[in-house]
């Protein structure tokens, strides 16, 4: 729509910048280029609240002078801008510390195919159809139950992007990505009781996203909590809903970064090969998961993405690595370099699609096995309530009381507390269906935990 960026030849810019960097005194250089189109629709009361549609393009440059690394980024491609980018980035490298582990990726062709990460329809679908999807996130919730009366945040967003990575060691790779996602955050009102429900989903294909299902799920979550009663304190079986469990996985992702491990910032340092979870638990980082929102042929520096078993039958098997941590740890990169802000951010170690492998138990099996328990459907502010040193946590939660294997009434105003690793060791059953959260990058089935402390109101 905005003209300009669509005409830029990424490969040509890449070559040009690598060449300029060399002339400016860089020993090695790496160029990451990105061009994207996004549409975001915020909805309120079946009307547009805000519509944002834009195209953007930018360049992230890393250069090595000796073993010193510099990073620079810019959003313009004219010769003056590129020249300034290269000069600034070379100056950055000149000021950075020597670090023998700094390195770029060598050329290695990705082998995975059938990744299902680009759907032309996300680009070509008419704007009206996208706006309609936003409306559906809200209308489906309100149609489900008359008590759904308010919405805090209804948003449909999609984007297509072209990413390219070139470096002076011969890496040259270009690929396309697409994604769409819906978020519905609804509130149910009944007398003086007000409860909210949040649901989200994401897909790499236009048809893979079901906005009606998201709206209905948000509504069900809110309605189920209406009229909640107090819960008495004690130790209980806890059935952790997949979505609530996903927040723990988001925290866990930080602990398995090889960068945090090598710098002694993670409590998992030195724990490779030890049992950190119940034998029921297998956790994978799968950068080539077909249709995964974190899937790509190569990572942010051009290393082929792959599948890595992090925890296998409860035993910690691996950390996620990028080129830097691999060289420092004398191992191979697991293809886990990520740029959190796209071209604006230098690559760091990050998970791709991180998920707990599904088990065989259905929700009904788990309720039956649990007998008397609490089903936790929502937790609030895990990062505020978990101790990064020990994994001890205490967080506000809400859910449904389970008696004799049956769901009874909603419960609220309680904290669940325990220790992340004690909790992982107490996983008795793993559900058969994965819920994805965190824009589709974290997946967890329901987890039945044999005991957690409950602090009632």
């Amino acid at each position: 729509m905005t003209g300009g960026t669509g005409r830029i030849d990424l490969a040509h810019v890449g070559e040009q910048v690598l060449d300029l960097a060399k002339k400016q005194g860089a020993d090695q250089a790496e160029v990451y280029l990105e061009r994207s189109s996004t549409t975001v629709v915020f909805v309120k009361d079946q009307a547009i609240e805000n519509l944002t549609a834009s195209d953007a393009a930018g360049i992230g440059l890393r250069v090595l002078k000796g073993s010193s690394l510099g990073f620079g980024s810019a959003n313009r491609f004219d010769p003056d801008s590129l020249k300034r980018l290269v000069e600034d980035t070379v100056a950055c490298a000149g000021a950075s510390s020597l670090d023998e582990f700094n390195c770029f990726a060598g050329p290695e062709l990705p082998s995975a195919d059938g990744l299902q990460i680009f759907d032309e329809r996300i680009r070509s679908a008419p704007l009206d159809a996208k706006i309609e999807r936003g409306f559906l996130l809200e209308s489906a919730a309100r149609a489900l139950d008359a008590r759904i009366k308010r919405s805090a945040y209804i948003v449909y967003a999609d984007g297509v992007a072209e990413a390219a990575i070139y470096n002076s060691l011969g890496v040259g790779f270009k690929y396309s990505l697409s994604s769409c996602q819906g978020v519905s955050w609804e509130a149910a009102l009944d007398g003086s009781s007000i409860e909210s429900g949040l649901s989200e989903a994401a897909s790499t294909t236009f048809d893979g996203l079901d906005c009606e299902a998201i709206g209905r799920d948000a509504a069900r979550r809110a309605i189920a909590l209406l009229g909640g009663k107090q819960l008495s304190s004690g130790t209980m079986h806890v059935l952790l809903d997949g979505r609530a469990a996903g927040e723990f996985l988001n925290f866990f992702a930080m602990l398995i970064s090889a960068d945090n491990v090598q710098k002694n910032k993670s409590m998992l340092a030195g724990k490779l090969g030890t049992k950190i979870a119940s034998s029921q638990v297998t956790i994978l980082d799968d950068g080539v998961l077909p249709g995964g929102l974190g899937t790509a042929p190569v990572d942010a520096v051009g290393v082929p993405r792959k599948r890595t078993a992090i925890v296998e039958d409860g035993v910690l098997r691996a950390f996620v690595h990028d080129c830097y941590t691999a060289k420092r740890g004398d191992t191979r990169s697991t293809g886990n370099a990520r740029r959190h802000g796209g071209y604006k951010s230098p690559p760091v170690v990050g998970t791709s699609n991180l998920y707990v492998l599904a088990g065989e138990a259905s929700r009904e099996d788990m309720l039956a096995e649990a007998g008397d328990a609490v089903l936790v459907t929502s937790i609030r502010g895990l990062f505020a309530g978990i101790d990064v040193a020990t994994g001890d946590f205490s967080i506000p939660a809400q859910g449904i009381l389970v008696q004799g294997g049956k769901l009874t009434y909603p419960v609220k105003d309680f904290h669940i507390s325990g220790n992340l690793f004690k909790m992982l060791s107490d996983v008795a059953l793993v559900g058969n269906e994965i819920s994805w959260s965190g824009a589709g990058r974290f997946g967890t089935p329901d987890l039945l935990i044999t005991e957690l402390n409950i602090a009632g109101g």
Partner: protein
Amino acid sequence: MCIMSKYLLDPDFGFERIKRLMVAGAQWCEILVEDVASWRLLCDDQKTNVESASRLGVSVYAVASGKSFHTCCDGTSAESIDGITDAVCASLRREGGKGGSTTSISPHEVSAEPVQETIEPFDGVELSRKLDAVTEADSAAREAHPKVHQVTVVYADRVRRAEILTSEGRIVQEDRSMVDFGVRAFLRVNGDILSAGHSFGALSGFESLKQNGRRPADVGKEAARKAALLIDAKPSPEGQMPVVFAPGTPGVLFHEACGHSFEADFIQKGSSFAGKMGKQVASDLITLVDNGHVWGMSGSFVFDDEGNASQRTVLIENGILTNHMYDMRTALIDGVQSTGNGRCESYEHPPIPRMTNTYVENGSDNPDAILTGTKNGIYIKTIARGGNVDVLSGNFVVGVGEGYVIENGRLGAALKNATISGNGPDVLMNIDAVGNDLNIYADSGRCGKGQSVPVSSGVPTLRVRKMVVGGGR
């Protein structure tokens, strides 16, 4: 190119596009041009990496019938700006905005009192001095305690020139220069890794790193001191109890408990404080203010991202709800003036109602008497690990950084990993003492609401009679 010496964008060119947007049906619209240059130094594991970034872009934003339309482009080429103007015009026509006035616009430059001075502009500071700053902080943190085994230091400066043209004919230019400096210290004790951070953020030049408490060594030492407190820290008592908040960052309580719920978009969606204007929503000891015009604060600015001057907005006066925080879209819906709270992360995002520097005005209680008058409970000196709120139900949670148990009116053991949580409307009514020692902390904190913007908060010493404390084990 349409760059001129004084302007990022030729006003004649810009207002011509603004007219097109008004003809297409905008009630109000703006063109924002943003030119940002930033430098970031990250010292991790005693190695420093340097990064630079440069961004120039334009956004076109229009409001009609409660709806808003936004798009943006990189750079300032006439072709790109025409492209994004046409896109917004098309949306306006399709969505049938009936604003549509073709009356002439009289361009005029608008100015207001500054909120900062810049004695040492960042672009004149040698990179080596920035390097020295992070190295000094790293060394200070390591020397402050023998068990410190890892330190992370982040220095970031950012110079932003913004130019805004609005459909009222306003031409606004603002140069903002800001710095964030933070240190996190890691200690290893009996196999556990304990860590704590300290940071500040300010509108200033490089000179603020020479001020007392903001010197790199001061920040490094403070981070190590906070981390070392955790060695002998005890699990927090749990359950309902009195909580005393120290002056400064504990003001985040109000950011989460009610601040977001007072943002006009959430009020219009039925937040937990909707429909309560003019009614008592807090203890009568509470006067809560959002003020984007506090000198040097990271949440301050002269003009918001819609070209409206920042202002002091009284949200709660002696317990009575008196105002909300508005951007242009929500102000037009309610038929009121914007309060200057329309903020965006960058030209790539639309402006929405956001807090700035949010704080409770001084009360009359003696701070020491508040503490000694509290038999048992907890004392919160700083907030850490953030917080979050469900604006519809009002339920929120905030993580405690440096905190202590209160025993018989005195501070006891340091606490580890405590949280406070509750329901915003309930907590506000339960405040029973407000001191006279207000401190607004120039925070490096960012508030996330789909977009990230710098904010600060503050309180005088104050006490909530009872709220839920968690985190014990």
